[in-house]
Every structure is written in structure tokens, then in C-alpha cells.
């Protein structure tokens, strides 16, 4: 029997993940919340004279980032562990679906959900920007770059959530992922600490500084809020970094999941 192709199955799993997520009402609530935040941004902009744009961009992009991360963790951790808990995975894996296809499909479904979600939130931010400035300026294109970087962050967060979810309980996965998000946001400082310390501790700190996800370089919110440009090479490096890092984490998740007994 021809069991179909791996990429087709990954696509089906991704689409199903996306559909499940979209039909989960929590997602809508969070989008509504993000829109509300953008509304608040406008209000704050009204109050703080002269820095409306600054406040709108700062608040809007921060909201996009935080909501996205929360959604990524919220759905991501449930992806594998929930399917094991509820035994939906049993029927899926009794199909001609290999375990790695399941993990990869889940990842794409999740990132797809987040990209669509970010798209909506981004429209909210841009509308708020338009509302305060009445027109788009040249420097607003850097806001799009910042949004792109935020999406790259989501890729990494999704991969991490999936990774932890592949061997841990949902609660612990959430804790681990969130902790890594915080640490990763301070990764550059961690490498700073590492450079200041010596010996084994310094080496360990350097290793950790390079291994934890590096979210700080992906955060250019304040930069673009001030209308400063983002270097082209940074865009390239960040893109490649996000791709490599997600691939690394997903490969790790596959390796673990390959050996997991689904009790």
C-alpha cells in the first residue's frame, strides 16, 4: 500500500495543528487582548505629547512579542504532551506516520498559527501607528523588520516548547520554556558575565551563553521605536540564527521523541 509521502503527511499534521489552535477560543481572546493593547497605545500616545510614535511602537511591538510568546508556550507545550495524555497520538502513530514527521508537522502547524496570529497583531500595530501619525513614514519599514525579528523569536520559542513537551509534562514544559525565554533575553548579558569570569566557571558561563537561545539580538524594539535603521547584515545573521537554532532544537526533540515510550 502506498502510504503517501512524508511531506504530505507533515503538511496534514501541520494543517490540523493550525486548525485545532485556531478553533481554540483562547487564541481569539489573546488576539482581542493584543488589539486592546494597541488601543491603549493610542490612548497613551494622546497623553504623552511628542512621543506618540515612540510609545505606540514600543508598546505595540512589546505586546506582540509577549502575547506571541505566551501563545507559543500555551499551545506549544500541549502539542505533544497533551496528545500523549489524551492518547490522540496513539491513533496518529498507528498510521503510516513516523515520529519525526509528527514532531516536524507540529512545529510547522504551531509556527503557522503564530505567523497568522502575528499578522493580525501587526495590522493592529500599523493601524495604531497610522492613527497617531496620519501617514506612514520611511522609518516605519524598520517596524516591519522588528516584527519579522519577533516572528523569528516565535520560531525559537515554538521549537523549545515542542522540545520540552516531547519529554516533560505540560506544566514543566511551560516553566522550562518561559525560563529559557527570560534567560535567552539576557543571553548577551550572560556572555558579558562569562567574559568577566575565569576558569571553569567562566567556560561554563560562556558555553551556556552561547547555547541558550539568544533573544536579545532579535529584540530591536527600542531601536526602531526611535526610527533607527537595522543593519542588513543583522537581518541576515538573525534569520540564519533563528533557522539554525530552531533546527537544532527540533532535531533534539526528534531524537528524544524517537526513543520515548508512550506509556
Amino acid at each position: 500500500m502506498n502510504a503517501g509521502r512524508a511531506d504530505a503527511r507533515i503538511g496534514f499534521i501541520a494543517f490540523n495543528t493550525f486548525r485545532e489552535a485556531v478553533r481554540d477560543r483562547v487564541l481569539y481572546n489573546l488576539i482581542a487582548f493584543a488589539l486592546l493593547m494597541s488601543g491603549a497605545a493610542i490612548l497613551v500616545g494622546e497623553i504623552s505629547i511628542d512621543i506618540e510614535r515612540l510609545v505606540v511602537v514600543n508598546l505595540g511591538l512589546t505586546a506582540v512579542s509577549i502575547f506571541g510568546v505566551v501563545i507559543a508556550i500555551f499551545i506549544g507545550i500541549g502539542l505533544v504532551s497533551k496528545e500523549i495524555d489524551k492518547r490522540t497520538l496513539y491513533t496518529v502513530l498507528s498510521r503510516p506516520v513516523r515520529r519525526w514527521e509528527f514532531v516536524v508537522g507540529k512545529f510547522f502547524g504551531l509556527t503557522g498559527t503564530l505567523v497568522v496570529n502575528t499578522l493580525f497583531m501587526a495590522i493592529g500595530v500599523l493601524l495604531a501607528l497610522l492613527y497617531t501619525a496620519h501617514k506612514f513614514e520611511k522609518m516605519d519599514e524598520w517596524v516591519l523588520v522588528a516584527l519579522y525579528f519577533i516572528v523569528l523569536q516565535f520560531f525559537i520559542v515554538c521549537a523549545l516548547a515542542l522540545f520540552f513537551s516531547s519529554f516533560s509534562t505540560p506544566l514543566m514544559s511551560a516553566v522550562f520554556t518561559f525560563a529559557l525565554f527570560i534567560i535567552g533575553s539576557l543571553a548577551e548579558d550572560l556572555r558579558g558575565f562569562a567574559r568577566m569570569s575565569h576558569g571553569v566557571g567562566g567556560m561554563l558561563a560562556t558555553a551556556i551563553g552561547y547555547l541558550v537561545p539568544n533573544f536579545s539580538a532579535l529584540n530591536v524594539i527600542s531601536q526602531v521605536a526611535h526610527g533607527d535603521p537595522v543593519a542588513g547584515r543583522l537581518i541576515l545573521y538573525n534569520t540564519l540564527y533563528a533557522v539554525f537554532y530552531s533546527a537544532m532544537v527540533i532535531a533534539g526533540a526528534v531524537l528524544i521523541f524517537q526513543h520515548r515510550n508512550l506509556k
Partner: protein
Amino acid sequence: MSARRRVNIVAAALLLFSMTGAMAMLYAIDGLGRSAVTQEALYINSPKVLRRLSLGYTGLLADIYWTRAVQYFGTQHHKGSSDFRLLAPLLEVTTELDPRLLPAYQFGANFLAPKPPSGAGMPGSALALMKFGIEHNPDEWRLYYNLGFLYYTELKDYARAADAFALGARIPDTNPFMPILAARMAQHAGEFDTARMLWFTTYQSTKDTSIRENAVEHLQALKVDEDVTQLEELVAKYRQQRGHLPASMSDLERAGFIHGIPTDPKGHAYKLMPDGRIEVQDPQDIYFITKGLPPGESSPQPRPAQNKDTKPISR
């Protein structure tokens, strides 16, 4: 089993490959020289706002900013840049978040005021930082010391320096040099002993390697200045007695003015110039000296390029 093993091998290979790729990208991003974290200081330059944003986790955030300040200074210094614009805001944020973070004040006193490239060249910010520190830690002799040190080294305002040392000397467990420094400011401010005591106190009162290194360099420079002054005095004395300049250091030794050929802290013999001046062998080798230089040459500043250590500032 083989299908499963194949997946394992591919996944492991992908893991290693992408890990290498990610590390390389991270290295490249760091190499862009735009440190995201210090850039932040450009935008969030109100320490009070940041304090509110910290949601109460001021201690941790202060530590982070303190690291950023040190890293920033070290990186700029290492690059040979004279742009230290962010040092003042970073230290201000650090101390605003944790006003009791004493090393930050000391770092500020040593590196905020001196002219680039050995410092940020912002004595005003340095003074403001010290005053802020004293306001929040009135019982710390080190802060008075740092204030006096600033007045003495950068502003040459010995009266104010004396006041600061005197205030610090009243604190119970103060450093024994404090009252002495206070006393010497009035009459002996320009003397080598005073300066030496000051830098020695600086050396003693910190564990920060960069501050200590800085102090050692100043102490060495003081030694050179003192040696050169003394040697030039001896040359003048020789001339007075013999009616002509000594032709070499050996002449001075034979005349019984010196014992052995004197060397500078780096181990090089001092040179006796034909006009009777004393010069160091290599003026670029010793930082901060004011004497023993060829005519018209200014006092060299520490250049990172000459540092054997590749680490920006520490060690």
C-alpha cells in the same frame, strides 16, 4: 529497526550541524559590534523610568546593568575607541537601581572623569555620581575617598579634595590613610608621597582588576617622575661641582652621586641626554608619566594595542 536508526543518525547530524551554524551566527552577530544590550541605554536613558519598569526586581537588574557598564567600557577601550558616551548613563542606571552598589561608584571615579582614551572624559558626570552615592551611603568612607580622589586627580581642586578626605576620615572604620590624605592636601598636594599614598589607597581598597591595573600604572609613573626629578637634581649638582655636565650615568656613579645605574619600573636604564635632561628608554612603555619624556612629547596613555592580554579590561 534500520528506519529508526536512520532517523536517529540524520537527526543527530542535523543537531550538530545546526548547533555549529547557530554558534557561528551568534559569533557574527556579536562581531557586528552592535551590542543590543548597551544600545538599550541609548533609548531608555531615564534611570527612574527603568526603575519603574523593573517591577521591583531592581537588584538583579542593577547587577545586569553593572555588567553591561563594565563590558561596554572594556569593549570600547579594547577597540581603541574614545567614544564612551554610554558609560555615564549605564552607571547612572546601575546606581539608580541599586544605590548601594559601591564598585559602580569606584569604577565611575576611575574611568568616567579621565580624558579619553583612558576614560570617558566626563568629570561632571563623575562628580554627580559620587555625590549621588554619598547621599545614599553616607557611612561609606570609600565614597568620600572617591570624591576626594576625583577632585585631586582630575580637577586639581585640592581644597575640595581635602574636605572630602576629612569627611571620610570621620567615619569609624575608615582607611588609616584618610586623615593623612586630608592633612597633606593643604600643603603637600603636589608631592609625590601624597600622590603615591592616594594611588596606593586606591589599589588597596578594590578588588577590581582594571582599577588595580590603573593604580599600578600610576604608581609606576610616579616612580619614574620621582626618579627623573631626583636624577636631574643630581646632574645639576654635578654640574655645580665640576663645572660641566656628566657625559654618562657612569660619571655620576664614579662621582659617588648614585650607586649603580638606575632603572625605570620596566627595568630599562634611564638615559642621560647631552643637555643634562633625563629620559626614559621608551616613552611609550610607561603610561601617565609627566617627566623623562623627549621634549614636546606628551605623556603616553595606555593603548590597548600594547596590551598583551586580549581580554578587554579585566585581568
